[in-house]
């Protein structure tokens, strides 16, 4: 029997995933209703997830009228294009859009490098720390004195990066032995500014909760 195609938006996600949070914030900013579907990631993955993202088997997955879109940044671009009447998160100008895409992709490094901070020790950890300081420095520099990355308005790069802030503070900071407020003060202020937005405040979990989750992962993977 053919399955009936479910109309509308469904987001397959995991509560603490910063990549999922990017999508949740975007959907909220755009005022788009959707069904949130919490996925079991640490145990057995659901049929729906495996069917929707057979290649990576990862969340987030956005299912729109039965068709899956995978990868958080691909989802963000898709939301811009599939819902042209909703408030845009990308600027209209091609050059500004290219800048936004560059820095949104670059922001992935915060998570990549940060993960190495709690997964490794010794030389590998020192290297990760050095890289993290560079990444934060670059982001702080790009933000400059602007309130948000694109200027006056909260947008694409802000929502791509802000979900990593509760991972930075306190967790990555502690594992790496640095302080965001010291090495990237403008970025720290920007993070506070973003938290004033309802979409961000309602989506992100406090750093302490993320820290608990990392501790759980360490136990699960037998990392000291």
């Amino acid at each position: 029997m053919a399955e009936e195609i479910k109309k509308g938006l469904v987001l397959l996600d995991f509560w603490v995933s910063p990549f999922g949070q990017r999508c949740r914030i975007a959907l909220a900013e755009k005022g788009l209703p959707y069904e949130y579907s919490e996925q079991e990631l640490l145990g057995t993955k659901s049929e729906l997830l495996l069917r929707s993202n057979p290649i990576h088997k990862k969340i987030p997955v956005l299912i729109h009228d039965g068709r899956p879109v995978n990868e958080s940044l691909v989802i963000l671009n898709y939301l811009e294009e599939a819902f042209p009447d909703a408030p845009p998160l990308l600027p209209a100008d091609p050059y500004a859009r290219a800048q936004a895409r560059f820095w949104a992709a670059y922001s992935d490094k915060v998570y990549e490098v940060g993960s190495r901070l709690w997964k490794t020790k010794g030389e590998a950890q020192s290297q990760a720390r050095a890289e993290m300081l560079q990444v934060l420095g670059n982001l702080d520099g790009e933000l400059g004195e602007k309130p948000f990355f694109a200027g006056e308005k909260f947008g694409f790069v802000d929502l791509a990066l802000v979900p990593f802030m509760p991972w930075l503070t306190p967790s990555f900071e502690r594992y790496g032995g640095f302080s965001v407020a010291e090495v990237a003060p403008r970025l720290a202020a920007w993070a506070d500014r973003c938290m004033e937005r309802e979409s961000v405040a309602k989506t992100l979990y406090p750093g302490e909760k993320v820290d608990e989750f990392i501790t759980l992962l360490k136990k699960k993977y037998g990392i000291e």
Binding site: V69, E71, V74, N77, Y78, A82, Y95, R101, F102
Partner: protein, 227 residues
């Protein structure tokens, strides 16, 4: 627009080719600046301070970095045939596969050709072959990933079309075989024989010569990274 377009590239770079071929498809005149990556210019370092890599597109006083970001920019900023599909869902699919290619055929894949440790190479290539199968399936009998004409995914996959053959020859390793990947092999031939692509594709002979002369160096790098 009438503003000067320059592309900072490097001979033999598959990433630079992506940007160049996109400009050619759009019929945009440009000046090509070739870098010696062992001795990076002030121009490159100034315009790509974050990654210090090629390609970098200079359009008037604007600079765009990262090859796939550049290709999308070229598609949006200039008129001409579409490099990405018009439909939002198809665009999402194209972006997914372009990103897949970047993730799965990154440094570890390319360095594996040079590994002297055969067991280590086999392990890396086993995963790579699964990913090649996924790409093979994605072609689904179409001439190009983009359908009837070359698009974002074909451009993203250019290294698989041309550079893999070079590495196979220099290192004596067979990866993209006709038996296992008939559609991909046919696609590769179609890609490298396309009239526009040919204008900016470094010749196989030249690439073989360059990589052969660096064989020992690449071997040493690959082995040291693998320890």
């Amino acid at each position: 627009m009438g503003e000067t377009v320059k592309l900072i590239g490097a001979f033999g770079s598959g990433f630079a080719h992506r940007a160049e071929v996109a400009l050619r498809f759009k019929g945009v005149p440009y000046e090509l600046i070739l870098e010696d990556l062992r001795n990076k210019s002030e121009l490159l370092l100034k315009h790509n301070p974050v990654h210090k890599l090629v390609p970098v597109l200079l359009h008037g006083d604007r600079s765009v970095c990262e090859s796939l970001v550049i290709v999308e920019y070229i598609d949006e900023a200039f008129d001409g045939p579409r490099l990405l599909p018009a439909d939002p869902y198809e665009r999402a699919v194209a972006r997914f596969w372009a990103h897949f290619i970047d993730q799965k055929f990154a440094k570890p894949f390319w360095m594996s050709f040079w590994l002297t440790d055969e067991e280590a190479r086999r392990r890396i290539l086993t995963e790579a072959k699964q990913n090649l199968s996924l790409l093979e399936a994605q072609l689904e009998g179409k001439p190009f990933f983009g359908g009837d004409s070359i698009g974002l995914v074909d451009i993203a996959a250019c290294a698989l079309a041309h550079w893999v053959g070079v590495f196979e020859e220099v290192c004596g390793v067979a990866v993209l075989t006709d038996e296992e990947y008939p559609e991909l092999c046919e696609w590769a031939k179609r890609y490298i024989n396309d009239e526009t692509v040919k204008q900016c594709l470094p010749s196989r002979g030249e690439l073989v010569a360059i990589f052969s002369s660096c064989k020992e160096m690449f071997r040493a790098i690959a082995d040291s990274q693998h320890k």
